[in-house]
Symmetry: D2
Subunit: 352 residues, 4 copies
């Protein structure tokens, strides 16, 4: 942490502030500029997280300098985390393709999709049994009946199943059936739920919030991890902006950015990002091109009879086409780039 | 609902689409323009909420024309809702001032604040026992011990108590002590929680989400109300934008806007909006000036020892100053404005 | 400036970076934390503005600590600037109300409005002769003919005239007639135009950009002021967000925030902020309540025949009502607040 | 256009409104729903652009149904526009790679970069001689001297040159040297400038504004095209959001979205989007993967001695690596997708 003092801060204020920080168990390093004094706090420990640094005498700004997410940070865990879901791996070069209907409706549709996506190359099956809907009058999901259908589909195809958990109450129920637990955008900061699932043993896909920052996304992963679970997959489903062309705004540049900050796998959700079937495949292709560790995508045999988000569902043949394109795609490899060019800046400077 | 067809939509597509809508039990009215055809759906019932209108053949856009929130809408409930909290009223001209610490820390601080805010004119006491914190390593609240302190403070001052509920698991505990249940920004779309509290009998303050729209805020109120509860207070705590001058961006113009759409009371939260004590009072004053039904504001005797959000807490004397200013303020009265000027537009046109 | 080094920065990188800064004529102060090194640059001069600090070896972040706008900053000019427009003052406690049609259309309408707003208490007359329109097919303004009508209206009423300048080419023409030059949102960063008008002698109203930050707004004022002109008025017309309830999002908290950073007068534009007549008055009232140095508001006798932005124009009687309300309003006085409470934080801390 | 009437609109209001529209020369089609009446305006001509439809009696909302940009729209010009710049083509399958320094500094650097990017496969050379800088104290460009250096570099390499125009005053000067005129984000709505360049004969690259919508971007292209020029290239350089991970937020999904709406070529600017060299290449790769018609990218031999935006410049060898990767990349082809799947939705419905 660095405290930037107000330009007119008095020596008394500087002393009081330094004193207070020492009381909290930290050393300080005071650096005086022409107009301003800066106090560096040495030993940037997590126990300062709750301290009211802004209110100390004469303080203008408080600047964080190291990541407040420790378990999620690559700083303290340089190797990629590889998560194993019933033999299907994700992270560290293993790409996972998770496909299936937005919500489970009929058994026939589910099996049809499950077989089709498996055939096309998907490695896991998604399907919602509990649905977070903006309106209380919209279809809310099939509940346990839907979970049971997913289990049947797993039996038929061998694909591990991914499904959303909405409520602390449903934890026992959902954990009984699912292989991977999905936490949606609206619950990204439902901290009570995050704490609970962090104590349990199944991998979690954590989507970013509707307008969360990258840092908040990582802090929510940290909530889960602080419970003991390491198997967290970060999913990018776009964020809200004033632009309504796509359903949400997905900056695929965040894929390599996140991969730099964290060792956890990072996947994209082109369905919720684009929001219109017409652009889902193109966006999924771009996300895989930039090096995502996988994607989660909605597929339905009859989008116009889907009970939720039919607008964004790919048709099975459509998904097959996308998978064929992806299979021939050489993804960008940021690690390789870094090895070749990451250190050139400073050497260049010496010439410059 | 109105369906705008693509400019090249064929007669066959128009017919199929009209046919499908009739299958769902609605009549249609087809209107042909020079370039485009528009299909109006007659009998705009809630059972269309889940239908995949976007995917019908030839459809370009789906336009909603009436509010999807029925219970919260002023359209179907023209009179202001007045909520009575242990004799303290809010709505319909009654203004409520809810003040107290962000989180309950020591009993001494709480009682000191409770007495001070009561003295200054507050009508309810706020205080957090369960705190939603971005970091799992920050102070998470005193829990039941905090709730008990609030009850003591209520005994001392007679002020009803407002406290936040974070988790379905804590419902029984919190309802045992609190007079008003607060749902924070991060849980505005925790639909599982909203459904539960809608079945219970205590008034709810529902804050807007971090980047929610007005419509989503109302839809979340509708979730609570669909459970049976009518006593919902909407609180504006600002939303996220690229600007970091204030902690959040509060457009106080949303106060009269919301009051037009809904019969529920609308209050402001200048503490979370401004985020810095220095601007909290000014913003609170502006919000009361434009006609909010009240405000919820953080007050702490020693901001620098507060365990959360000390930066934005007013000092007790500070709050007293604000209350004195507000007591002399004549709020804008949008209803009065509407009575005088609301219908002038059309009469003016006749002259024009 | 402060350079925060990467956590693994080598001693060689630190030395190279420190060396480079010294080459640019600045001393450094190096402060070592547990994980990170921070380099403070002493003598925070403007000539570092163009230097590629981010690219120095081992640098993680560059933090600015003092305002890059010197002429606009209150730091170097503590007293409020009072601008005198033909005897009408604004700033330092003088409030200016600028009213009139969005665009000048007919002479009859203009005179009718000019007399009405003068009667109601306006101190200047606004009216557009050159209009920036999103569509090239929309009405683009009356040009010189409009300027001449404004001059006539000034003769009739004595009100100084405020009009928008869109193009470098029109500078001579507009300066011949106008008393105050308005620069709109779309030209806030038309630096070529800002430089030109900074060399001329008439006061300027500079609106914020469509999604500008407070800092960018001040930097654009600095562009004008770097030409020599001191008479700049900052106008807040709201910014773009995902919310479409109002035309733009105006956070009136930015009024005291800006007044803290700059000595220039700060006014609000409730017409472009709210965008709908129904909410313009309420928002204008809130903006004056929080202490704006004035407002600029659109008034038209027949909104439905206005050639631009009729939706947001107040009727003359409507404006009169607003002015009567404002005349009885006691504005928030942030300076008074600061005098009473601004220093309490630190004294409180001593007790805490 | 469609007018949605208020739910309580009277027959008199409906009649008056219909009457007024007929006065403006348009037929109407009135459609009555259960709660609401909708008036369709037949003959959606551009002369309604300036009409105050919102203020007509009883009108709740005005909905646009067809594109207000006619010349830029694919609706009226289905074939891709192919622009020829001195033999270098862009659009309709021809991809253009425009590379070079942010601003021209020394002749040595420029020639070094020009040769290097040509060697690597660039088809045009970019370089700024006039720079729009947020601070008036930052380097503002070399002016005519810079333009002359670009001409020299063109002679050496044969690459056509692209350079930014900031001011109406510099039009003659810049047109004398440049092959393609670039209009930057800050001038996207400098309508005076757009009108002027639309009358001249050189191709224009129009970047999107800092927070412009896709529609506004197209409307600005329409401004240029309404002057007579057809050769407009749209460049996506990202927009502002609350997220600061990247310099701007670029949703590459807008590439196929724009290509659907317009026949003009669409390129990406990964340098200003990512803002940090480390992510520029990855983002450029993703943008080309999704099917952009080209890219404009900053390359400098010594980023730390660049006079502007050194942070985001690729090194020449870095650019070469990117180009090699791109040469092996199979871009997504949305037209091919559309041919195979674009019409499946409705046929699927018939089965459903």
């Amino acid at each position: 942490m660095i405290l930037v003092m107000k330009s007119g801060a008095t020596q008394e204020e500087i002393d009081k502030t330094a004193q207070q920080i020492k009381t909290w168990g930290h050393d300080v390093s005071i650096s005086k500029g022409e107009y301003q004094v800066v106090i560096g706090i040495i030993g940037d420990k997590q126990d300062l997280a709750g301290k009211p640094l802004h209110t100390l005498p004469g303080v203008e700004k408080v600047l964080e300098v190291s990541a407040p997410y420790k378990k999620a940070s690559r700083e303290f865990h340089p190797e990629d985390t590889v998560i194993d879901v019933q033999g299907v791996k994700i992270g560290g070069g293993h790409k996972a393709i998770i496909a299936g209907p937005c919500s489970v409706d009929t058994y026939e549709n589910l099996i049809l999709v499950a077989k089709a996506v498996k055939e096309a190359g998907a490695t896991m099956l998604r399907g919602g049994a509990f649905k977070p809907r903006t309106s209380p009058y919209s279809f809310q999901g099939k509940g346990e009946e839907g979970l049971k259908m997913l289990v049947e589909a797993r039996k038929e195809t061998g694909l591990p199943i991914v499904t959303e958990l909405l409520s602390e109450k449903d934890i026992d129920l959902v954990y009984q059936y699912a292989d991977v637990i999905q936490i949606g955008a609206r619950n990204m900061q439902n901290f009570a739920l995050l704490k609970e699932i962090g104590k349990l043993g199944k991998p979690v896909i954590l989507k970013n919030g509707i307008a969360s920052t990258v840092k908040e996304h990582l802090m929510s992963a940290e909530y889960v991890m602080s419970g003991g679970l390491n198997d967290v997959i970060l999913a990018l489903r776009g964020t809200r902006s004033y632009e309504t062309a796509m359903r949400n705004t997905l900056d695929v540049g965040l894929v390599p950015y996140l991969q730099k900050l964290t060792h956890l796998p990072v996947i994209i959700d082109p369905s919720h990002s684009a929001g219109k079937r017409e652009f889902v495949s193109a966006l999924g292709y771009a996300g895989m091109a930039i090096g995502a560790d996988g994607m989660i995508v909605e597929v339905h045999p009859c989008p116009s009879c889907a009970l939720s988000d039919g607008d964004q569902a790919l048709l099975p043949e459509d998904f097959d086409y996308l998978m064929k394109k992806i299979s021939k795609l050489e993804s960008w490899n940021q690690k390789e780039w870094k090895k070749e060019f990451g250190s050139m800046q400073s050497s260049q400077l010496l010439k410059g």
